[in-house]
Amino acid sequence: MTDTIAAPLLSIDNLTISVGSSAIVEDVSLQIGAGEMLGLVGESGCGKSVTALSIMRLLPEPPMQYRSGTIRLGELDMLALSEKQLRAIRGEDVAMIFQEPMTSLNPVLSIGDQLREMILLHRKVSNQEASTRAAQLLDRVGIPSARTALDRYPHQLSGGQRQRVMIAMALACDPRLLIADEPTTALDVTVQAQILDLIDDLRRETGMAVLLITHDLGVVSQYCDRVAVMYGGRIVEQAAAAELFANPRHRYTEALLATIPASNPPGTRLPAISGTVPPPGNRPAGCSFHPRCHAVIEPCTTTLPRLEGIPHATRCWNPAS
């Protein structure tokens, strides 16, 4: 195992989650230490959100099923907790910024009410103090005129403003672990930088651990200590961020890095990876990337490679570099 952290705050070991007989997430292991930011990247549909939701036990069970593996948050065995225990932990110990801001805000409550409710649930403070804290949070995520913004409803905000309200909610109770699923996709670069800088400051100040799911490799390279790359439900590569960008080893990672718009001349066709991620239940034998890979050798089509190498781990028979 590539356990490089002395006592990780979050430790996922050999997690497999399935719907019926198809595995959605397979044999996933991830560790994040206090104060560390881990980036999780990979193509749409590869299982990033399912992994994220599994940590907070927010997957709909059924149809989703935890088949094997463990998830530990500090001393807590997340898979053994009751719904009541989970409710106490969510928001307080582990908070999540969801990929879908509109569906996760309550349309009939003002954003002030929603923030205050979150704070009052976990903190013994007066209504007045909760309001002050709520306004401070909105201010920190860059919502103009935070005080008056408290009275607004989700539909009165722009897409990016809603996303920032979600971020404020997640940060409201200083969680030990923040799971951020595409937290800045609706945000322009300046606000994105402001939000990511805020998360970055918080993890350095408070030792909050961060799991950052994003498709923006530029963001990963600037903010994350380590990166895990997912493909077809499995981790296929994991390394320190600088190392991964300098020396991608898995052929999928290599192809992914080549597709970034900013590294291609404007107006040209982008070097897209042809084909699509195989859907769960329909993953090919061997390495599941092999049908789209340009460097296939003999074992790739028949035998699943193991995730090997410390500290730079990859799951590839014929790695680059």
Partner: protein, 320 residues
């Protein structure tokens, strides 16, 4: 040929405590047939409002909209219907936009039904075609939206918008939620369709590297107004407005250290209470005394960096 022209389009919303939110103010622009116009600007600057108002999905508070030369600003809902077919939008929040109780096939073919196009068999064929076009697996038509990942749902929304082969597509953050490899597939797809169908696209994004990649021209918005507009390479290579310059320097790129970017200080002012003069003066590194009192007009101005004039709303390039 000019497909769409808007003139002095404005949209206000009632704000908190009796104030008025000026989300879009006096925007004029045009889109040629087959052209991609990119719109960029900070969160909350009015991009989605502009995109929706020009399609009359929300009612503009003022100004005119002409589609193929005909004014559509005053048309009733019924009169508007034939135009609807030619003007589609991909919404920023596709998750909210997909009916969770409908199967994907029904969602994609809904516009065909509304406009009474084809029969059951031809619609089924069209659904299969559209699914393939956006790279969703066969059989997706029989599944429900919640069975798909975020990026897959975005592609469902794109397939639906393309079902009617519109002449104008407003793509509001259409690829922002997609990972880079799917993003590049969708960008290529949009470029292909745009060539094949001579589709005009208003491409709204906060991501300048994406905007630059797809757009023929780029409009930069700040607090409800356009502050710079021009051919992509001009705006990107020789940005005139200090706001455009700041936006460009903030693009995160792999292998560029974070220390080298210029992050804009301060926040976007409240559109219920916009600053006098140039709205950007509160954050502008080059602000001059009269920037705080006089609003600069959006006109062609000679800038030192470039032989061609730039269309920008900035006092820096005032002829003395």
């Amino acid at each position: 040929m000019t497909l769409l022209e808007i003139e002095n389009l404005s949209k206000t919303y009632p704000g908190a405590h009796g104030t008025t939110v000026k989300a879009v103010s006096e925007v004029s622009l045009s889109v040629e047939a087959g052209e991609v116009l990119g719109i960029v600007g900070e969160s909350g600057c009015g991009k989605s409002t502009l995109g929706r108002a020009l399609l009359r999905l929300i009612e503009p508070s003022g100004g005119d909209i002409r589609f193929e030369g005909k004014s559509i600003a005053g048309l009733s809902r019924r009169q508007l219907k034939p135009f609807r077919r030619d003007m589609q939008i991909i919404f920023q929040d596709p998750f909210g936009a997909l009916n969770p109780r409908h199967k994907v096939g029904a969602i994609i073919s809904e516009p065909l039904k509304v406009h009474k196009i084809g029969n059951t068999a031809s619609r089924a064929a069209r659904i299969a075609e559209l699914l393939a076009l956006v790279g969703l697996p066969e059989g997706s038509a029989e599944r429900y939206p919640h069975e798909f990942s975020g990026g897959q749902r975005q592609r469902i929304a794109i397939a639906r918008a393309l079902a009617l082969e519109p002449k104008l597509l407003v793509a509001d953050e259409a690829v922002s939620a997609l990972d880079v490899s799917i993003q590049s597939q969708i960008i290529n797809l949009i470029a292909e369709l745009q060539e094949k169908l001579a589709l005009s696209i208003i491409f709204i994004s906060h991501d300048l590297s994406v905007i630059r990649h797809v757009s023929d021209r780029i409009a930069v918005m700040y607090l409800g107004r356009i502050v710079e507009i021009g051919p992509s390479e001009d705006v990107m290579e020789t940005p005139a407005h200090p706001y455009t310059q700041a936006l460009l320097s903030a693009i995160p790129r792999p292998n560029v250290p974070r220390a080298e970017r210029v992050v804009l200080k301060g926040e976007l002012p409240d559109p219920a209470n916009p600053p006098l003069g140039c709205a950007f003066h509160t954050r502008c590194p080059s602000a001059m005394p009269h920037c705080t009192t006089e609003r600069p007009a959006l006109v062609a101005r000679k800038i030192a960096a470039c032989a061609k004039p730039a269309t920008t709303a900035c006092h820096l390039y005032e002829v003395a």
